[in-house]
């Protein structure tokens, strides 16, 4: 089937600001939006630029705004979005070129919440024990692939770029609620700051955008609870 694809383009060497370009592509309904983008890049306009790698929703490279919603281009099928498709870069990060945005601030916020296991006790010879129930407690937030769909869909983030953002809080949650971790206190102090969890007003765009189905808003509220009650 023939689809029309409008893409917001920007070439920093040539353009003063982004502009829309229109393409048509011959695709199958079961193709991914990523396949349509590749069809255009490979056979029509080699300058079209976007990040991509695994092509099946795991690596998180190709998060972008498709028909007004943050999605992974490789997880959205043509039949899900129909014959008129608009594609733009994620909102809230500087655009480097076309659909490629600057991810440095995003990763800096991730690093700021101490995203690694904190446990200074010498480990046992074998594995630290953890019950299936304890394991289930933080299962949801282990799924995060750092694609930035959540943070860049958040109006609180658009309004204040200092907000640490949903993804960083999800990553913190993964450790705060892991029974083997002892760094909850440190992370909760960081997230109790002004630009920690408080800008979240439970808008739910993050939960809607997450391609991994993580209940992001719930995770943020659990962290808020832990800060307020002092209990994990």
């Amino acid at each position: 089937m023939l689809v029309s694809v409008r893409i917001k383009r920007f070439d920093p060497d040539v353009d003063r600001k982004p502009h829309w370009e229109a393409y048509t592509a011959e695709v199958e309904p079961t193709d991914r939006v990523l396949d349509a983008l590749n069809e255009i890049k490979w056979h029509q306009d080699g300058t079209l630029t976007f990040r991509r790698s695994c092509g099946h929703g795991i690596c998180g490279s190709d998060a972008m705004m498709i028909n007004g919603r943050n999605r992974l281009a490789c997880k959205v099928l043509i039949r899900d979005v129909g014959a008129k498709i608009s594609v733009e870069p994620l909102r809230g990060f500087a655009v480097i070129k076309d659909l490629v945005v600057d991810m440095e601030q995003f990763f800096a916020k991730y690093r700021s919440i101490l995203p690694y296991l904190i446990n200074d006790n010498p480990p046992p010879e074998k594995e630290r024990l953890q019950s299936p129930q304890e394991r289930a407690r933080f299962d949801d937030t282990t799924k995060c692939i750092l694609c930035a769909a959540c943070t860049t869909s958040c109006p609180s983030f658009w309004a204040d770029k200092e907000y640490v953002g949903p993804a960083a809080i999800v990553q913190a949650h993964r450790f705060i609620f892991d029974s083997r971790d002892e760094g909850a206190g440190q992370r909760l102090s960081i997230l109790a700051e002004r630009h920690g969890v408080w800008p979240c007003h439970t808008i739910f765009n993050c939960t809607d955008a997450c391609p991994r189905g993580i209940e992001v808003t719930r995770a943020i509220q659990e962290v808020k609870d832990a800060i307020v009650t002092g209990r994990v």
């Binding site: 070439d11 920093p12 060497d13 079961t30 890049k41 490979w42 056979h43 306009d45 080699g46 300058t47 630029t49 976007f50 990040r51 991509r52 790698s53 695994c54 092509g55 099946h56 929703g57 795991i58 690596c59 998180g60 490279s61 997880k75 099928l77 480097i96 070129k97 076309d98 490629v100 991810m103 990763f107 690093r111 995203p115 690694y116 296991l117 480990p123 010879e125 074998k126 594995e127 630290r128 024990l129 953890q130 019950s131 299936p132 304890e134 394991r135 933080f138 299962d139 282990t142 799924k143 692939i145 750092l146 450790f175 892991d178 083997r180 971790d181 189905g213």
Partner: protein, 574 residues
């Protein structure tokens, strides 16, 4: 721009990150990746990491050794396999100590499940050896290792694409990298270089591999005189989503899933009476094709079914949530109620840069070390996997040899000085890029690449014959000619991914030629290399590793012996 380090690691998947964690404890290390680290393909591994912990049933690393060697159809270097299987246990506990969130048994230990080719008591039946985290074990490993790198302050150069290896006075002394964001070239001068750049599945039309997997590390080393070992051995994983190649883990069969043909038969019962659907991957892929050839595909077509209906929703949600999601997203199928159409997909390069079991690169049949050069993971050929890799062994491979190589390299750089760079180190890359940007009137990258992928899939895939191989050899020669005129639309400096795809195509073409040459020469069938014109394994003439050298007069093939310690080749039955 010039940078100086003790050691430079190229590739930020499991092997690269493990090496970085080791080496950065005592040396000044930089990690270069053409992606961001968490985008690496390690993250897509699903089923599990194999280690004989014995948490669910009795197990021993010695059994794991035998299974790996038999799985590799006796082409594995057995001393290296012993090291890997023994160290696997310790390394899995280390990963857990780093925080890896494994699934757990009711008594809180790391949970394990059965997997293809892993047996108890040297082949008596399946054994639960795969330590897993839902069906996203690779994602967890990659995230955990990256978290530790953040904790340790490892220095990354993200979206730097390495395009050349620098060798001077017989020593590797650095790399040249292209900064993707700006088009600037950077020379990294180092005492040692470690390649962990992954595989080359994009050589084939239907593959489980990411777009990024274009064999860059292999090709860069190959062009600088390092031979490629065992290139003819490329694994086709039996269960890729029909037409898309997206991987559905072997773990699904570990949980009890079965393969059925157009008649509703569990056909693996006929071919592998003991292990059935948990036979090794190379064998299952061949049997799937045989069933299809004999008209027993679904509705007579070119696929069979993976049936998970009898597993029930609880198992699917707890143990196989990601593949349930894939199948729902891409096929609109609910695996609890419908069977899944699957076909073999190009998955893993057993061959690659030859190394010893300390990840030092070796360049001839005597295993002479090339000083200052290390490799681990899928890019390397130790050889652990021989002619066919068992599932879960790649995750073990990357962490064990990533760590061993990191340690060896850290030790080496303490004892050596920098070797000076060769004169004009960036010339080769500058010329390569200038030529690509200036070219006009030729084919575009995608057309050439697609032709290579279709022909390699058809003629150098699961079943090979001399006629088909010579045919694709000619096609590749023609494509190389056309490639010299390949023409780009994007001539810019900022994030020019069309230029990089052109360079990647050059890499794949070189590696495809080596693959076909090695496959044509090997007149026997062993593991994943199956010759319809030479269907039997021939140990008398072919129990040896191939080495393919790129020379000005074409590809020169040499051979080196397989290290056998305990297990003489036997008939490979499951």
């Amino acid at each position: 721009m010039l940078h100086t380090y003790d050691a430079v690691i190229v590739g930020a998947g499991g092997a690269g990150l493990m090496a970085a964690l080791e080496a950065s404890k005592s040396a000044k290390v930089a990690v270069l990746t053409k992606l961001y680290p968490t985008r690496s393909h390690t993250g897509t591994a699903q089923g599990g990491i194999g280690a004989a912990l014995g948490n669910v049933e009795e197990d021993h690393w010695e059994w794991h050794v035998f299974d790996t060697i038999k799985g590799g159809d006796y082409l594995c270097d057995q001393d290296a396999v012993e090291i890997m299987c023994r160290e696997a246990v310790e390394v899995v506990y280390d990963l857990e100590h780093m925080g890896l969130p494994f699934n757990r048994t009711p008594d809180g230990k790391i949970d394990q499940r059965p997997f293809g080719g892993h047996t108890r008591e040297f082949g008596k039946g399946p054994v639960s050896r795969a330590c897993y985290a839902a069906d996203r074990t690779g994602h967890m490993i990659l995230q955990t290792l990256y978290q530790q790198c953040v904790k340790q302050g490892v220095h990354f150069f993200n979206e730097y694409h390495v395009l050349d290896l620098l060798i001077n006075q017989g020593h590797v002394c650095g790399v040249v990298a292209y900064e993707i964001a700006t088009g600037e070239l950077h020379t990294f001068h180092a005492k040692a270089v470690f390649f962990a750049t992954g595989g080359s599945g994009r050589m084939f039309k239907i593959t489980s591999n990411a777009h990024a997997l274009t064999g860059d590390g292999m090709a860069v080393a190959y062009r600088r005189g390092v031979p490629m070992e065992d290139m003819e051995f490329f694994q086709f994983h039996p269960t890729g989503i029909y037409k898309m190649g997206i991987l559905l883990t072997e773990g699904a069969r570990g949980e009890g899933g079965i393969l059925i043909n157009g008649k509703g038969e569990r056909f693996m019962e006929r071919y592998a009476p003991t292990m059935k659907d948990l036979a090794p991957r190379d064998m299952i892929s061949r049997y799937i094709y045989l069933e299809i050839r004999e008209g027993r595909g679904i509705n007579g077509k070119d696929y069979v079914y993976l049936d998970l209906r009898h597993l029930g929703r609880d198992v699917l949600n707890k143990k196989l949530p990601d593949i349930t999601d894939f199948v729902q997203t891409y096929l609109g199928i609910d695996p609890a109620t419908e069977p899944i159409p699957i076909q073999p997909t190009a998955h893993y390069a057993m061959g690659g840069i030859p190394t010893n079991y300390d990840a030092e690169v070796v360049i001839d049949k005597k295993n002479t070390v090339l000083p200052g050069f290390y490799a681990a993971g899928e890019v390397a050929c130790v050889s652990i996997h021989g002619a066919n890799r068992l599932g879960t062994n790649s995750l073990v491979d990357i962490v064990v040899f990533g760590r061993r190589g990191g340690r060896k390299m850290a030790d080496y750089v303490k004892r050596t000085d920098l070797v000076p760079l060769p004169p004009d180190p960036e010339d080769y890359v500058q010329e390569q890029i200038a030529r690509l940007l200036a070219s006009h009137g030729g084919d575009n990258v995608a057309n050439l690449r697609e032709k290579m992928q279709v022909e390699m899939m058809d003629k150098c895939g699961v079943f090979r014959t001399a006629e088909h191989l010579r045919n694709v050899q000619q096609t590749l020669a023609d494509l190389q000619d056309h490639y010299r005129q390949v023409t780009l639309m994007d001539k810019g400096k900022t994030f020019n991914t069309e230029l990089l795809e052109a360079i990647e195509l050059g890499n794949l073409l070189d590696l495809a030629e080596a693959t076909v040459a090695a496959a044509l020469a090997r007149e026997e069938s062993r593991g994943a290399h199956y010759r319809e014109d030479f269907p039997k394994r021939d140990d008398a003439n072919w129990l040896k590793h191939s080495l393919a050298y790129k020379t000005d007069s074409g590809i020169r093939l040499a051979y080196k012996p397989v290290t056998i310690t305990k297990y003489q080749p036997q008939e490979r039955k499951y």
